[in-house]
């Protein structure tokens, strides 16, 4: 029986069989996240709606091929959304939000929506916190790469820095986040 308490995987499995009720529950669970990611990247409600709708339609259509061994449902859905948003920005030659603004909106988010908390999980909270502690130049580089899909060369051009420096900022920033996440996992294991 599918209901609002069903897991993401159960919903996708039912959606793969054409279960419309599961699709409705899934959409209601994810629409804020999907729309929010697109909006954080574009600051444009019209583009965000277009992207969010396309992303959720793709999830509905491709539910049969989702492989949970390759990652979480949340990552899959948000990666689809991110890629569609990048495409939309390129097609429209629109200016994305500044990576500082993206990071600020994420870090200043004081939501306590239980559904969001469940969906985000501890790792996201840790990353949000660790991101706020990164040097600004590393934070920008990581957000440009992870969220906006910028290559190291593009980061170097946009930031006006040598390619080697861009690569170092991306790697060092990501490694620091990685260490923060690993630290939390170790703490959890000790409990």
């Amino acid at each position: 029986m599918i209901d609002s308490g069903s897991t993401d995987e159960a919903l996708l499995a039912s959606m793969a069989l054409g279960d419309q009720a599961a699709a409705v529950v899934f959409v209601r669970r994810y629409q804020r996240r999907v729309f929010g990611l697109a909006y954080s990247m574009t600051n444009d409600a019209s583009v965000s709606e277009e992207v969010a709708q396309e992303a959720l339609i793709r999830v509905w259509r491709h539910a049969p091929v989702f492989d949970h061994r390759r990652g979480s449902v949340t990552s899959w859905v948000l990666t689809i959304t991110r890629n569609l948003t990048i495409d939309a920005l390129r097609m429209r030659r629109a200016v994305p939000t500044d990576p500082d603004d993206f990071a600020a909106s994420a870090m200043m988010s004081l939501e306590h929506n239980p559904e969001d908390a469940i969906l985000r999980g501890d790792v996201s909270d840790v990353v949000r916190s660790a991101l706020s502690e990164l040097p600004p130049e590393q934070r920008r580089a990581v957000v440009l790469a992870a969220v906006y899909g910028r290559t190291a060369l593009e980061v170097s051009e946009e930031e006006g820095i040598p390619l080697g420096t861009a690569k170092t900022r991306i790697r060092t920033g990501l490694m620091r986040l990685r260490v923060a996440v690993a630290h939390v996992r170790e703490t959890e294991d000790e409990r």
Binding site: A23, R33, Y39, S75, S105, I170, R178
Partner: protein, 234 residues
């Protein structure tokens, strides 16, 4: 300490491993790094961990309520034929008259309120009680509605050419017909409109006939004139 000869090889791929995890590595570098990862369990594990962190960076974007009518349009495109009822609420800016009561149940009351508030606030983020935002073209103010010291809802005003006001109630003592009034800085009380609440829940929006900046207080008043809940917007 024993020097690990493989470590030197792995170090050469350190930058590329991070970029591969972020999905931004291309061309020969990508091919060479993938070949190394394929042969190196340690780097394969590291890549997996970095990819999870990369995914987590994307996931920290705050959730935002989609534009009004989003679900209806989406379900139609998805070809869903058995969609559940959606709050029938029109875009606030297009309405010339006050919105009628929109919610028959607490859940829909809150859902409808969220939709209206998201629309009217222009998807503004991070406003807390009593704050005013001038980041966009229109000024938005929002404040907590309290009933005997207990938070029972929220009031938001929206500026611009056609000012609006949104009130949401949740788990209050309100039931039946109530009136919403605002008190301006000069102490004058203005009636915004009369609405119905059900079992303490409700959400409505209405045009504001006074400048939102002048509003200092909003009140929900019962049919016998008793002030049920108040919100300070000063």
């Amino acid at each position: 300490m024993i020097d690990d000869p493989h470590q030197h090889v792995c170090d050469e791929y350190a930058d590329n491993l991070a970029e591969l995890a972020l999905g931004i590595l291309t061309g020969r570098e990508r091919a060479a790094t993938l070949a190394h990862v394929d042969a190196c369990p340690r780097c394969a594990e590291e890549l997996q961990q970095l990819a999870r962190v990369s995914d987590a960076v994307v996931s920290i974007a705050p959730g935002v309520e989609p534009t009004v009518g989003f679900e209806v349009r989406l379900f139609s495109r998805m070809g869903l034929t058995e969609t559940p009822p959606t709050p029938s609420i029109a875009p606030a800016r297009r309405r010339a008259t006050p919105l009628r009561w929109v919610a028959a149940s607490p859940r829909w009351a809150l859902a409808a309120a969220a939709v209206v508030v998201a629309l009217v606030l222009g998807l503004s983020l991070g406003l807390s009680s009593g704050q005013r935002s001038e980041g966009g073209r229109h000024e938005v103010a929002t404040a907590t509605l309290t009933e005997k010291g207990r938070t029972v809802g929220r009031v938001s005003t929206y500026g611009g050419a056609n000012p609006w006001m949104i009130v949401t109630l949740a788990d209050s003592a309100t039931d039946g017909r109530v009136t919403c009034e605002v008190v301006t800085a000069n102490g004058v009380t203005h009636k915004v409109g009369s609405f119905s609440a059900k079992d303490g829940y409700g959400a409505w929006g209405a045009p504001l006939r006074v400048a939102p900046q002048a509003v200092r207080k909003a009140e929900v008043v019962s049919s016998n004139g008793t002030v049920i809940a108040t919100a300070s917007l000063s």
